[in-house]
Amino acid sequence: MHEIAFKPLLRQAGLIVLGALILLWTLLPLYHMVILSLTPVGEGFAGKLWPDAPTLDNYRIVLTQDNYYLSRFWLQLGNSVLVAFTSCVFVFALSLTASFAITRLRPRFAGFASHMALITYLVPATFLAIPFYQVMGSYGLLGSRWALIITIATFATPYAIWVLQQNAGSVPRELDEAAEIDGASPWQIFRLVYLPLMVPTIVAVGAFAVMLSWNEYLYAFLLLSDEDRITLPVMLGQFLSDDSAPWPLLMVSGVLYSLPPAILYFLARRYMATGLAAGSVKG
């Protein structure tokens, strides 16, 4: 009798311990980022669990660019925003048209097009970095923010096409046929039937493209060099092995840089869950 009452209790305790371990593992690096951002610059080397005299002054320094290392903070953050939004627009333009052609117009070459998109999606971007750099050079785009925008669009579009293609099945084909009988051209069907009904997937795809761009380090670092054109991750990466850099200030920019995607994720979570599950694996 005793054992029966004891077992669920033990299970409950086990779950609590497991939950605590998961949270510790997940949050420790993020917690460390936050407390380091609150530590006075001189105390950054203490490795404390909580700073002796936490201060928000670091945030003031970063936001007013009151330090040599962060003298272009707003400009570089602006570059990140510019690249993220422009590449998102490109991803929309390229993937919506392509997925419409593949799933609604169904030409004989639809299979080939979707095959190419899928293969591009599967290949890791790192493996194309070397020729990409050279090709951007031959197009005369090295050092330009356009190079990075095109890169993000190139790597996010195939995924977007794939996800849109998966979800296009939920838009009934009868709607297309009805519009066609009413004399609508494919362009009108695209604009008036396809786009409005695909909005949830479009949100997911857009959020994905923005996050991909926000995250991009390797290509941003290879393609951009001018201090005024680099994105924030490139600036942070410059101090990677510089122990004399004011790390608490870098962590302030890190916290500020992490907030938008975290918020975006929580806002678009409902959409992204379906998009991601459909996009990467479908059982």
């Binding site: 048209t97 097009a113 591009t120 020729p131």
Partner: protein
């Protein structure tokens, strides 16, 4: 006259073929071509061209000799093997295990799940920089805690090659475990509840339920996920470069960071391509198998 007379029927038949027969492209296909044009242009300019360029760079025979003669190359291959064999396997097994936790009902579990996804949602560079500082053997938080609690000097997490690889694998798992866990959780939530009920009626315990109901139902997703993450882990540049930079003494590189290193630090693009191409014997079969699997699942 004779020539034109002979040509006439030919012209006629070709006009007939174009007119009443099937045209080369139907009305809809012409529109489809128009809609596919932007993607096709991008694909040719920024996917096909770079790939052809890479193949052209790889025709430099001397690059192979340079790469194979470099003692760091063998080390890099071994590291890549460790990274994939331990990193990917551990990550996917943990994801499978943790999915059992996250499918449980309850508000607390939902809150933990929302926080658990944060490493994936937060950009790579700030979090890895934070971890890099945290793991510093002299002034990092981890070794500080180890000293205060156990009174021992912690290891050189980033400046010893073996600990360096272990730290890299840990960071990779920290970053990507949430995503794959949630994919498996989504798959498990899709299993019909009555399967579990009938299993329970037949007297199956929780281990047996996992063995006979859960795993068969998600085996497909699990396999596809493992293959996908193997490919993408081969391309994981950030977890290595931002944490150890491939050091100390280039002993913690994988093929991805080594290829980039040859190309951009030694300005040897050919050697860089050759290094990255060493991953093709794994990459190409995986891409082929995955393309088939994903397309088959999509059609079904």
């Amino acid at each position: 006259m004779i020539a034109s007379g002979a040509a006439l029927p030919q012209a006629n038949s070709s006009r007939q073929w174009l007119g009443s027969g099937r045209p080369l492209l139907s009305f809809k296909e012409k529109w489809a071509l128009f809609f596919l044009m932007p993607f096709a242009a991008m694909f040719v300019a920024f996917v096909s061209y770079p790939i052809l360029y890479a193949l052209f760079l790889a025709t430099d025979r001397s690059a192979y000799a340079r790469v194979f003669a470099d003692p760091i190359y063998a080390r890099t291959l071994w590291n890549t093997f460790l990274f994939i064999a331990i990193g990917v396997m551990l990550k996917m097994l943990l994801a499978l295990g943790l999915s059992s936790f996250f499918v449980l009902p309850g508000r607390a579990i939902r809150v933990i799940a929302a926080l658990f996804i944060l490493p994936w949602a937060v950009p790579h560079i700030p979090s890895i920089l934070s971890i890099r500082w945290m793991l510093n053997s002299e002034w990092g938080m981890i070794n500080n805690i180890l000293f205060q609690v156990f009174g021992v000097d912690g290891p050189a997490w980033l400046t010893n090659p073996s600990y360096g690889m272990a730290s890299i694998i840990a960071v990779h798992i920290w970053k990507y475990l949430p995503f794959w866990t949630m994919i498996l959780v989504a798959a498990r939530l899709g299993i019909p509840k009555d399967l579990y009920e009938s299993a329970r009626i037949d007297g199956a315990g929780s281990v047996q339920q996992f063995r006979y109901v859960t795993f068969p139902a998600i085996a497909n997703v699990f396999l596809t996920s493992t293959m996908l993450t193997t490919i993408w882990s081969l391309g994981d540049f950030n977890s290595i470069y931002l944490l150890t930079g491939g050091g100390p003494m280039e002993r913690t590189n994988t093929l991805a960071t080594m290829g980039i290193r040859y190309a951009f630090r030694h300005a040897d693009f050919q050697a860089g391509i050759v290094t990255l191409m060493s991953a093709l014997p794994i990459l190409v079969p995986l891409v082929i198998v995955l393309t088939r699997r994903l397309r088959r699942n999509a059609d079904a």
